[in-house]
């Protein structure tokens, strides 16, 4: 089969066989020393995984659905799927997203403009399975036939043929995790159709109606957060102990006296960090602590679960989990009596609290919520901290987290900081609202079971990696250390996998970190450089 041919009919036939095979030679080329002969291919699924898990899509597994026991179990899921479809189309069950869903279902004119805007489709070498409108069209046909009972001329002539069976729903489930929900296609669509919204509605149907969600998002994600406070498993006592350790450790390194405040009633600012930053990128939380203290901000962290972890994976797959977590975050801020909540460097958290939760945080829970981008900008230009930009005299490029930049329109604050503090700042191309996703968006950076990392570094992350290399093409090799600034926890996780897979630190000297670290690194009061290029 050619890479760009796939008939809709194939999608609902032969449930047990893999629909498409991804070949490394089809993928977009990368420049030397990253061309295909020089990087290893992904891990193929082993026979045991193929026996246990549903893998009838593209040879990768993101969701890890166990193979059903028998036909009766398959039928149960099919019936639940139809019930879920109807709920998505009903105002009582889906008042939040019904209107944009209907608009996106009804106004697609099949022009395929979305294809060329999709980094996954392009990096795959234009594999038809990854067309943004392919998934949507399957869904649209299912809605028309099973939830709306339309009998259009087209359906009577079999033009929009669809079958609802095990092949259809099991493939659709995996396929709903082959999209980063980055909405670049929605921005490109002349009709305003939002294929990312359709994808997310599909995930929601599977989660809320069938109980299907990747365990990294559900059992070890939202459920763990609601139970102990954070998907990392950190309880309040552990997070305070960790911050205490970091305060001391970084005080030694920087020569500053770092003391992170906890549970301060009536503070001006409650900082809502991503707890993953505390564990995996502690420079980020320490940089915020240093900057807030240096600027004399009256701020605090909360040690009440889940107030120390601002992530809300519900945004990726489930409205009910989303609401539970968003309400808890707002209630904690209300209880502390803070004047505003500042989002840590985490894109999906920005979108969750600053945009989507607007529909539920009303009345006294409608506490002002600000992006760390504008917060940091005000802090940098307040005149309260002295900077020496020469301390950042190395090549820096900026990754635009989709949720902060394209989806919330926060484009310039972070750039004004970098233009001021980083003499060798250079843009990627394209950038701003036209950026490409890191490849880990939509919750995919968390999914690491089976062989999915192979898909993320080659397909969803391929175009981004190419862009990063191009931004640093004037200084190739590992001799010059380069800083990829990614002000988002999810993006940093994806970049960690990407840079490791391509061995880009060794080959090109590329290191990834956040924005606050660059700001601290330029402070004149610092004894030693804050950025240590991943070594300590």
């Amino acid at each position: 089969m050619k890479n760009n041919e796939l008939r809709f009919r194939e999608f609902f036939e032969n449930a047990d066989s893999q629909l498409v095979k991804i070949e490394i030679n089809h993928l977009i080329p990368l420049p030397s020393p990253y061309d295909k002969s020089q990087v290893s291919a992904w891990r193929e699924l082993d026979t045991d995984q193929r026996r246990r898990l549903v893998c009838n899509l593209d040879g990768f597994i993101a969701a890890g659905l166990p193979v059903p026991q028998n036909a009766a179990e398959e039928q149960k899921y099919i019936d639940q799927f139809v019930k879920g479809l109807k709920k998505l189309l009903s105002r009582e069950s889906n008042w939040t997203f019904l209107q944009p869903l209907l608009l996106s279902l009804d106004f697609c004119v099949k022009c395929q403009t979305c294809c060329d805007s999709c980094h996954i489709y392009l990096a795959s070498g234009r594999n038809a399975l990854y067309r943004p409108a392919f998934r949507s069209e399957i869904f649209r046909r299912l809605v028309n036939k099973y939830a709306r009972k339309s009998s259009s001329l087209l359906s009577r002539f079999g033009v929009d043929e669809i079958k609802l069976n095990w092949a259809t729903i099991s493939r659709l489930y995996e396929l709903s995790y082959r999209c980063n929900l980055c909405r670049r296609c929605a921005q490109a669509c002349p009709m305003g159709v939002d294929n990312a919204l359709i994808t997310r509605e599909l995930r929601k149907l599977f989660s809320q109606e069938l109980g299907w969600a990747p365990q990294e998002l559900h059992e070890k994600g939202t459920q763990l957060q609601l139970k102990v406070g954070s998907p990392t498993g950190m309880k309040p006592k552990v997070v305070k102990d960790n911050l205490d350790f970091l305060d001391k450790d970084f005080s030694e390194v920087t020569g500053l006296n770092i003391a992170t405040p906890w549970d301060k009633s009536g503070a001006d600012v409650l900082l809502l960090p991503g707890a993953g930053d505390i564990l995996s990128f502690p420079e980020s939380i320490m940089a915020f602590s240093i900057l807030c203290n240096a600027a004399g901000i009256n701020w605090t962290l909360s040690s009440e679960a889940p107030g120390y972890d601002g992530v809300n994976y519900g945004l990726f797959y489930d409205d009910i989990q989303f609401v539970k977590i968003a309400l808890q975050h707002a209630r904690i801020a209300k209880k502390l009596g803070v004047k505003k909540i500042v989002m840590g460097e985490c894109g999906h958290q920005h979108k969750a609290m600053m945009a989507v939760a607007d529909r539920i945080l009303t009345g006294e829970l409608n506490i002002p919520r600000e992006s760390s981008m504008t917060f940091l900008e005000n802090l940098v230009f307040s005149g309260r901290i002295k900077f020496d930009p020469d301390r950042n005299n190395f090549p820096v490029t900026l990754h635009d987290p989709c949720n902060i930049v394209r989806n919330l329109g926060i484009v310039e604050p972070q750039r004004r900081i970098l233009r001021y503090l980083c003499p060798q700042f250079r843009e990627m191309n394209p950038h701003g609202v036209d950026n490409y996703c890191c490849g880990g968006g939509g919750g995919l950076s968390l999914l690491a079971g089976a062989n999915f990392i192979g898909w993320k570094v080659n397909i969803s992350g391929g175009l981004k990696f190419k862009q990063i290399l191009a931004a640093f093409s004037d200084c190739p090799g590992s001799g010059v250390k380069k800083y990829l600034c990614a002000p988002c926890l999810n993006c940093k996780l994806q970049f960690r996998d990407l840079l490791e897979y391509y061995d880009a630190k060794e080959k090109s000297g590329i290191y990834c970190g956040g924005l606050a670290e660059l700001i601290v690194n330029a402070m004149v009061d610092l004894k030693n450089p804050f950025i240590t290029w991943g070594e300590y």
Partner: protein, 105 residues
């Protein structure tokens, strides 16, 4: 659930080979994991790191920060990668029988 044979026993593991029941861990299992990654002998330094990880996990229910592991063992990152080929999270925690870290880490 996936299974893996380690030190002569079939044990439940996740898709990345991490032990799902930490209470079943033995030193033999640590050696078996190491052998799979080409490390045929566990030195006292290996045990220093593994024992610290297990103790921290038992007390706190999660893996420690890498920075903490570095400080408590006195091994820098390079040394940790020399000891554990796939690094602190993917080798050391796995050999210590601790479930794979969850969340944005």
């Amino acid at each position: 659930m996936a299974q893996m044979e380690l030190a002569g026993r079939m044990l439940e593991v996740d898709e990345n080979g991490f032990l799902q029941e930490p209470e079943k861990w033995t030193e033999e299992i640590a050696r078996a994991y190491a052998a799979k990654e080409g490390v045929t002998e566990l030195t006292p330094d290996h045990w220093t790191a593994i024992n610290y990880l297990r103790k921290y996990y038992q007390e706190n229910g999660i893996c420690p920060m890498v920075r903490r592991l570095v400080k408590e063992t006195g091994f820098n990152l390079k040394k940790l990668y020399d000891l554990f080929p796939n690094g602190p999270a993917h080798s050391a925690c796995k050999w210590a029988g601790i479930p794979k870290p969850t969340g944005c880490v």
